[in-house]
């Protein structure tokens, strides 16, 4: 295996890790409107991710920076090409982060209501837009001989891409509902389970539609098992939710997210950004990669740091393992 193949795998893992973690964060954000009935319930949901959302988001920064280091051309083409959707995502992530930290800082009705709106919309929109972006990534976009994106933003909003957006939005919401059922206690837990069933069914239908479309359009022998795994994991997550086995349900919904992105990355390889203008102009793991020296340095850094990061991040989930409910929420100050 070439070093750049290994780095493709690592970057795929970083993105997949990001969607596994921030996926349920986005879902929780959406559920603050669809599941929570009042402010206290909204606070219960927000506090299930309170201590961890920031570190979850760093997976995105790391995926971006690692792409910059290992595949500069991929980084350059992707972010200059998907300019406006990325701008929208950045604005949402900025507002959403501030909303989590500032919402409780003033005990005023209008202040809190506004930040809660921000949390909802700025979770919903990125959950949708990431799906649009990755659908475009795997389908291919117009790229010229100089590796630059030559299309317009409208090229990024085809039916396949929109279906991809809808799929990730519903999948993340389901993932969030399963997470909410796992992390809460009391009445909200029961309702989270009930809602998870509906989101899970919708996610299942969309998964079949989107992933089969992906498989037919760009798939190969490697991506097929991932597709089957994604669909089976969704079904198992639904079954476990129905049986009240919340830990297993979360494991399965996480597996579904991982497998769904595995389909995308396996179908993409060895390209990193296929060109629809001329396949010769596609960016590949070989022509977009950094020099072997840079990749070697980064392999050492990633080899040491990634297990450590996963270790201490897992530890925070253990520290905050206690379920919370409305009775745990202190009065606003």
């Amino acid at each position: 295996m070439h070093l750049h193949d290994f780095w493709y795998l690592l970057i795929a893992l970083l993105w997949t890790g990001y969607f596994f973690l921030e996926g349920f964060d986005f879902g929780i954000g959406v559920l603050t409107r669809t599941l929570a009935r009042d402010r206290t319930e909204r606070r219960v949901l927000i506090n299930t991710i309170g201590p961890v959302w920031d570190a979850n988001e760093v997976w995105l920064i790391t995926a971006g920076a690692a792409t910059f280091a290992a595949f500069p051309d991929w980084y350059a083409t992707l972010f200059s090409g998907f300019y406006l959707p990325l701008l929208a995502i950045l604005v949402c992530l900025i507002l959403r982060g501030v909303a989590f930290e500032y919402r409780h800082k003033r005990n005023e009705e209008r202040w809190q209501r506004n930040w809660e709106q921000v949390i909802f919309w700025c979770s919903l929109l990125p959950a949708f837009l990431w799906g649009v972006a990755f659908a475009n990534l795997v389908r291919g976009v117009p790229i010229g001989p100089d590796k630059n994106f030559t299309g317009s933003v409208l090229d990024l909003l085809g039916p396949y891409a929109l279906l991809g957006g809808l799929f990730t939005l519903v999948l993340f919401t389901f993932h969030g509902a399963v997470f909410a059922a796992l992390k809460t206690v009391g009445e909200i837990r029961d309702r989270a389970r009930a809602q998870a069933m509906w989101y899970g069914l919708a996610a299942g239908v969309l998964a079949v539609a989107f992933l089969v479309w992906t498989q037919v359009q760009s798939g190969n022998g490697r991506s097929l098992p991932a597709l089957v795994t994604a669909v089976l994991a969704l079904a198992a997550a639904l079954g476990c939710t129905r049986l009240g086995r919340e830990g297993w349900a979360f494991t399965c919904s996480a597996l579904a997210v991982v497998a769904a992105f595995a389909v995308i990355f396996l179908a993409l390889f060895p390209d990193v950004m296929p060109s629809t203008t001329d396949p010769r102009w596609s960016l590949t793991v070989a022509n977009a990669a950094s020099s072997p020296y840079t990749l070697k340095i980064m392999t050492w850094v990633a080899g040491f740091m990634t297990p450590l990061v996963i270790g201490y991040q897992a530890w925070t989930y253990w520290v905050f393992r206690q379920r919370i409910g409305t009775r745990h929420i202190p009065a606003a100050h």
Partner: protein, 523 residues
Amino acid sequence: MNLALAPETLARWQFGITTVYHFLFVPLTISLAAITAGLETAWVRTGKQKYFHATKFWGKLFLINIAMGVVTGIVQEFQFGMNWSDYSRFVGDVFGAPLAMEALLAFFFESTFIGLWIFGWDKLPKKIHCACIWIVAVGTLLSSYFILAANSWMQHPTGYRVDPATGKAQLTDIWAVLTQNTTLVVVFHTLTAAFLTGAAFVVGIASLHLWRAKRRRLRGEELGEKQRHQVGAMRASLRLGLVVAVIAGLGTAISGDSLGKVMFEQQPMKMAAAEALWDTQAPAPFSVFAVGDVSKGHNSVEIEVPGVLSFLAHSNFSEAVPGINDIARQEAARYGGKPDDYIPSIFMTFWGFRLMIGFGMTSFVAGVIGLWTTRKKLWLAPEFRTGEDEVPRLMLTRTREMGPFLTKWSWRIGILTMGFPLIANSFGWIFTEMGRQPWAVYGLLKTGKAVSPGVGQGEVITSLAVFTVLYAVLAVVEVRLLVKYAKAGPDTDELPPARDPRLRLPSARTGAEADEKPLTFAY
């Protein structure tokens, strides 16, 4: 096309706005993390409540600030690809590595342990909780180191070769990038400036509370118990802030001098521009004030101190310092084009340099005076000593207190200079980045060739407008929150957790009890 709206100009404005804005939060985050960690350590070691209240108070302001630092940092990570895709392609092999190291080594530390610190007050044993904020502080230091190594490579490329096949920079020696003297000196300068920033912030807010309490006493009112506790916490903070201000201010001056010498060697144009030194002179004078005219290539008004610039550049008063016109001719001969193309904005570099030094050193001097006048009570004659929960007297000598007028203005200056280092930092970056123009990577890649060729004018205008408006709105929100929490002072009713929580799983009985307890902190 109208030059003012050229993609390069727009992209530069966007980078300038988002980066200067981001760097308002960065130095405060770096220094407040360490200051909060220091105060929590004092609490863990001594058990004194004033340290607990101070930790909580500065921790709150730190969190309001870091939230903005984190979210504006996301833009920094992605806008190289968005607006500067040709830059990214050219430098990615070298520049991407420190960025990825920053994410892996620093950002995960900061984000994970800040969550533990915020929510962990009653879940972690005291010492581990305190270790969390120290890890956050170390994370901020690591982060600044890696990003400054990346920036230093743009100032002075090293450890690379240009690949003849692709025409792109290729890393050949990561160690050279991480340890070149530009990196080390810049890190020293930026970190000391960051600590000066946090120190001035702490001194300013502590002065506000102490001066308020002092005025109350002057009006003949007695302080209540809560207020005395607040004064105790603020007095401890004031002393810590002053000590940090003096050490950091001194460090900023020393490192600034070293950085100047490095820059005279590596980017003579930047330093000549900083002095508006048009013609090579030996000995070269230090310019205090000048009004220059780029088209004429000389200054129309000037006030100078002879020989000092030679000293700043070479540590002696007579050696020649090359001037703008000579350097521009040399660069034009070497890289092609007209000499004028190689002259940065003299107005911005000259004044940016002076404002940086002026605002920064004012805070340093204020710190020195503050530290002297509030020096430890045992050095003072007994009748001037004040208790730990009283406002300190401002003492000129052992037995001589400042008069009412000087006292009033000393406290007020402490409050008013609170934001001076922030201004100094901003002008420092504007100076160093504008002084490098027309280069994005000095000697290798011009800024005009670094922009994204595929991104349209409309898109850049959109993002520039969106970020400007968004950042302006958030600035108002943030400052108002800071003012609210800063004015409120420490919440002295709050008590530290009575028992040290354990990490082990609680026994069945106590576990059930703990399960019913509301969270001590929740969003």
